[in-house]
């Protein structure tokens, strides 16, 4: 598997397509247990991302993901802005100077992204946040020792659905306490779209 600038751009483009298609769904999820802006937030953020990266000829993956990060930080006002912004910033540092990443390097970069999300939001597994998708997915990749993107996407979907059962302990939904049970976490849903998009980007 080769993951270069072209694949990275394709990942972002597919992710954006999915998020634009699912904008209303993400909005509804966030209306149920948050403030309803997650669809708008991620749709605006990733639209800006694809516009930003389309016009640039990147020398390396680090500078591409740096732009992704800065765009999300600048454009997304909700929690997902600093969280995804930090995730892609850590990826950009991990891939600094690399034109292409092999399996191990890509997995390591995703691992760095997860650490970034956890350092920023201080959430652990079970608290009904995007960490409930990211952590098991990264664990799977680490165990496999290679970029099993399809399996990762399947697991992401399963874990996203599992957040329905959880009570929110972090983020805005935590204000709802037990009433947050029974709804999928919006950030986990958008995170699933990111992993599904990565699998598609690596396929074709």
């Amino acid at each position: 598997m080769a993951f270069g600038v072209e694949q990275a751009k394709r990942w972002m483009n597919i992710a954006n397509d999915k998020i634009q298609q699912q904008k209303q769904y993400l909005t509804e999820l966030d209306q149920a247990i948050g403030d309803g802006d997650h669809g708008l937030n991620t749709a605006r953020g990733f639209q800006e991302v694809v516009e930003k990266i389309a016009s640039v000829n990147y020398e390396d993956l680090g500078s591409l993901f740096k732009d992704v990060s800065m765009t999300l930080i600048a454009k997304v006002g909700g929690a997902s802005g600093p969280l995804y912004g930090t995730a892609f910033l850590k990826m950009s540092l991990a891939l600094n100077g690399k034109k292409e990443a092999d399996d191990k390097e890509l997995v390591a970069a995703l691992e760095a992204a997860l650490s970034g999300i956890k350092a920023r939001g201080k959430a652990s597994v079970g608290e009904k946040t995007m960490v409930d998708v990211w952590e098991p997915v990264i664990e799977l990749l680490r165990e496999k020792g290679s970029m099993q993107a399809k399996e990762a996407a399947l697991l992401a979907k399963e874990k996203m659905e599992h957040t329905k059962e959880l009570e929110a302990k972090k983020g805005r939904a935590a204000y709802l306490g037990k009433r947050s049970v029974g709804h999928i976490d919006p950030g986990s849903a958008s995170s699933y779209f990111l992993f599904a998009a990565l699998a598609e980007a690596l396929e074709g």
């Binding site: 802006d37 930080i73 006002g77 929690a79 802005g81 600093p82 920023r120 972090k170 983020g171 805005r172």
Partner: protein
Amino acid sequence: MKYVSLVLISHSEEIVSGLKKLLNQVQPDVPIAIAGGNDGEIGTNAFRIKEAIESVYSEKGVVILFDLGSALMNAELAIEMLEKTGHIAIADAPLVEGAYIAAVEAGLGKSLDEVVRACEQAKQMVKVEH
């Protein structure tokens, strides 16, 4: 600069601009910067917070107060993006009462540590006796 300065962060521009007015009335000498909203909408923005910190930065110190959870993430991100990073503290305090106490204490020329400690006391303040 003689005074610790304040940075007020809110998801709403109106909350912090109103709060700043209220504090200026009590303590006009303390430098106060605000970072409210994101592109005119509800939210916070790390770049705006960074600019707010820079606009009132001094070695005497900057105390940051914020409203809701994700404002903290953007405040921390803003601090990481700054070139100067010393003398900046995020207070664990309710925004309105905390900022009020911070402005009063800063106006008395207190140190950054003292201002932070004082405004964090706002959490224990009893507002209504039952």
